[in-house]
Symmetry: C2
Subunit: 228 residues, 2 copies
């Protein structure tokens, strides 16, 4: 048994029949023509499906929006990269010398992509069921510790829902200031909840980001002080 075989069996609980598939999954495009990009496409689709089905079953009261946000939090690049690190996937990866020199093996996206490719390879090697099982084992802890769906909503949405639940008039956002040149602007936005006599301000590189920052501050004030 090769070192790669050993690794995948101990870390992902799967034994490859076709070692070439395993080798492709572990090869970044910088390291050879039989690289993992097509497998990554496949694995990404599979992970999205398996996690969707699992969330559908586990969170029967979540609506479509909540399910989408929960899934996004589980399968986003940063989360996949963390899972890849938890099984030391970086140590198995074949990278071209350029990527190696630039410390590319640590780069989030390379790790996330390779993890997707690994599940794509298991799918082709052992079928949908074997690959689903391997995915659910790796995601097990996260599936047991799902964030509350409302925490995944953006601040403006949460503020709006908080106010609506209390029959309070919605906030008014206003751009107070824009600084900098066209492609390097800095926005300052105020968020006012007039009936509670509260104003916060937030900053960001876009109007949207500044609005979110101001809404987040307003939420902090309102939920901390229990003004109502």
């Amino acid at each position: 048994m090769t070192r790669d075989q050993d690794w995948v069996r101990s870390k992902l609980g799967y034994s490859f029949k076709d070692e070439n598939l395993l080798a492709s999954a572990l090869t970044h495009r910088s390291a050879g023509s039989r690289h993992n990009e097509r497998l990554e496409f496949l694995g990404d689709a599979l992970i999205n499906f398996v996690i969707a089905l699992e969330l559908y079953r586990r969170v029967p009261r979540a609506d479509e929006g909540d399910l989408s946000r929960l899934r996004a939090s589980l399968v986003k690049g940063g989360s996949l990269a963390e899972l890849a690190r938890s099984v030391s996937l970086g140590d198995q990866l074949k990278l071209g010398s350029g990527e190696l020199k630039s410390g590319g093996y640590r780069r989030e996206s390379i790790l996330a992509d390779a993890l997707e490719a690994m599940f794509g390879a298991i799918l082709l090697d052992g079928g949908t069921e074997a690959a689903s099982k391997a995915i659910l084992v790796l995601f097990d802890e996260r599936l047991h510790n799902l964030p509350k769906p409302e925490h995944l909503k953006d601040s403006k949405t949460r503020l709006q829902e908080w106010l609506q639940a209390r029959n309070i008039a919605l906030p008014v956002y206003a751009v107070d200031e824009v600084q900098g040149a066209a492609h390097n602007q800095r926005f300052s936005v105020s968020c006012q909840v007039a009936s509670l006599d509260q104003v916060t301000t937030g900053g960001g590189t876009s109007r949207r980001k500044a609005e979110q920052a101001s809404a987040e501050k307003m939420l902090e004030i309102l939920t901390k002080e229990s003004l109502i």
Copy 2:
């Protein structure tokens, strides 16, 4: 056998064990609390996965970008709505009176969503394999008549690749004119390929769209006239 059962068996080749699942899949949120939104989330993920796997097998030379574009063309809302119409899904849909009055049953997104929900329901009722089979039967003609991946690329990308393949310097885009108020602007952009002495102009509601239009015109000229 109910009318819905009849329909799904004759049009999608599947017989439901659980009629409640079928009923939910056919119920828009305007028509009741047991509606199809959660099933739509599930079906969307399944269709994306099944089509990804099928494209992976059918188009072995396509790279990841081509596979993504091919899939997007197959599963975009308009394509799903067309497939929904081809099986007269609209006739089976349960819609609230508001949606009915507004002619909502014809609306693309309602049809596309309901088709996704239908496959989500088949998945829960009969498992991944049965649902995959039903999806592949419905998509069969489209899978046999896939567009050429290069035709799915945007005009600027195609123009760039056409020029690079001929070692010609890349085009220069310039905004010639912007008309209208801030939220209702009209852009006019020129695309210049200096070494071929060609200039085209394109218009659109954003700079990006205007650039694409100008690139499309340039492509038409270059590929038609065979200037090289």
